[in-house]
């Protein structure tokens, strides 16, 4: 069965903070309901903690870092799930249960199987 990444784009909040408690409860409920198809996943700290890394002048060149993600947008990548589903229709149904689906967006992408 194919595996899909469900990339979560939502408000750029810190999931460990008390303000995120309601949201985390929703995510825990989703996690329990979709346990049968979830093969992994992680929540991310806000983009304020992110560092963008580039190497100038090709491989082995100067490492250039910058604070945060490259572009400032309302919705940020805040986490992902890996889900195993029979086809895209099933994957879309699962993704539609992720809280970000009605409070942001979920991008469903097939994962490459190199085996």
């Amino acid at each position: 069965m194919p595996t899909y990444a469900a990339l979560i784009y939502s408000a750029d909040v810190d999931p460990t903070q008390p303000e995120a408690a309601t949201m985390m409860k929703d995510y825990n409920e989703f996690g329990a309901a979709a346990a049968a198809v979830i093969r992994g996943g992680r929540a991310l700290y806000p983009t304020a903690t992110a560092t963008t890394v580039r190497v100038r002048g090709g491989k082995g060149g100067d490492i250039v870092t910058s604070d945060g993600p490259y572009a400032e947008t309302k919705e940020a990548l805040t986490g992902f799930y890996l889900i195993e589903c029979g086809d895209l229709d099933e994957a879309v149904k699962v993704a539609a249960q992720i809280p970000a689906a009605w409070d942001g967006a979920v991008e469903v992408r097939p994962v490459v199987d190199f085996s």
Binding site: G86, D87, L88, D89, P110
Partner: protein
């Protein structure tokens, strides 16, 4: 049996679509199936005129295409050092399976996870059996762009796992709306500037849908709507390719057979949705009122207006309200209609709102305001042909 060139081409194309639908299921790949069917079609067009059409053309095409698909799979497996997977023999499928295969192909080509552009191109290519070059010409794209769009769509179907399946009963109405919208888009794309091949293709697709789902009001209404519009094809442009308004079209040249068929389909579609009429059927009912009127002044405007009222309850939009107001103008006069048109919101970018205002203001004798509205219609993109007509009318 021998057939003339056109009939043979049509037969091969129709059967080719059915064979493709089955082969996509059997091979699990749109690309592979397409390649194999293309090969079989070429062979048929080479050999049938010489040897005669086989007794069962579909079986002939299917066996030939499947053989080709097996060859390709074996060759690729050999190159990858793997064993080729077995491919079932679909030759003896009963008609119900062939029908389901076609439905699967329809719903896969019009899957909501594909962009509308991709759905249109894919429907023309796989359901319509048009070559990539013809798809490109129909959609006014370069051949490279059309080919890229088709390749991307097929890649997404394969890689993202878009299923080859008829939607479950509870999803069907919504998915069917999507299919109808795609076919209607193909029709409108061709209808706007009278691109006959695209219009013909949309009608053919709508007929295919009706043959597959003869009880679905959405497809009955869709086909009715397309036929009733298409019945006026010959009269929509004058000999200098300028548009001819409905009021001025030569009704003796409308296609009576298409009108009869369209009207009968409207009846069938409406009988199947007595509670909440299907929007396509309602639009077709309006088209039928025009098609059946002996002359423009004799149009049954009461009926037209009530159908617009129904349409506003099932699919409200400012454009529908605008069309209703235009019908009111014919029945009750411009003075009654103009305030209705002026009150519509959200149409400032819609050239027909300005054009309708120009016409009504002209009828009320307000020349300067009519000319200003005409200028706004042109500024918002009124097609050049209609701009010429409007200039002639209001100055």
């Amino acid at each position: 049996m021998t057939l003339a060139g056109d009939a043979l081409g049509q037969l091969v194309r129709d059967e080719g679509t059915r064979v493709l639908a089955t082969l996509v299921r059997v091979t699990g790949s749109v690309d592979l199936a397409e390649d194999a069917v293309q090969d079989a079609v070429v062979r048929a067009l080479e050999t049938w005129p010489r040897d005669g059409v086989p007794e069962n053309p579909r079986a002939w095409l299917l066996v030939t295409a499947r053989r080709r698909a097996v060859d390709v799979v074996r060759r690729e497996a050999k190159r990858a050092g793997k064993e080729a997977a077995a491919m079932p023999f679909p030759e003896d499928d009963p008609p119900s399976v062939i029908r389901d295969d076609l439905l699967r192909l329809v719903f896969t080509c019009c899957h909501p996870c594909l962009s509308v552009d991709a759905q249109v191109a894919l429907s023309l290519r796989t359901l319509g059996g048009l070559s990539t070059a013809k798809v490109a010409r129909g959609l006014r794209l370069s051949e490279a762009t059309a080919a890229k769009r088709l390749t991307r769509a097929k890649q997404k179907i394969a890689t993202a796992g878009i299923p080859y399946r008829v939607p479950a009963a509870e999803e069907l109405p919504e998915r069917l709306e999507g299919v109808a919208a795609t076919v209607y888009l193909i029709f409108n794309e061709g209808y706007a500037d009278v691109r006959a091949p695209l219009v013909d293709e949309a009608v053919r697709l709508a007929r295919l849908l009706v043959s597959l789902m003869p009880d679905e009001p959405t497809v009955l209404g869709l086909l009715a709507l397309l036929l009733l519009h298409d019945a006026r094809r010959r009269t929509r442009l004058d000999d200098r390719d300028l548009p001819v308004l409905l009021a001025d079209q030569d009704r003796s040249r409308w296609d009576r057979a298409l009108i009869r068929e369209g009207v009968s389909l409207v009846g069938r579609a409406l009988r199947r949705t007595p509670g909440e009429p299907n929007p396509y059927a309602v639009q077709a009912a309006i088209a039928a009122c025009h098609a059946l009127a002996p002359s423009y002044p004799e149009t049954d405007w009461d009926a037209v207006i009530s159908w617009y009222d129904v349409l506003l309850t099932v699919r409200p939009s400012p454009v529908v309200s605008l069309n209703r107001a235009a019908a009111i103008a014919e029945r009750d006069g411009a003075a009654v209609a103009l305030p209705l048109v002026d009150a519509l919101e959200g149409l400032a970018d819609y050239p027909w709102w300005h054009a309708t205002r120009a016409e009504l203001l002209h009828r009320l004798g307000n020349g300067p305001a009519a000319r200003s509205a005409r200028a706004d219609a042109e500024a918002t993109g009124l097609t050049p042909g209609h701009a010429v007509l409007l200039r002639r009318r209001v100055g």
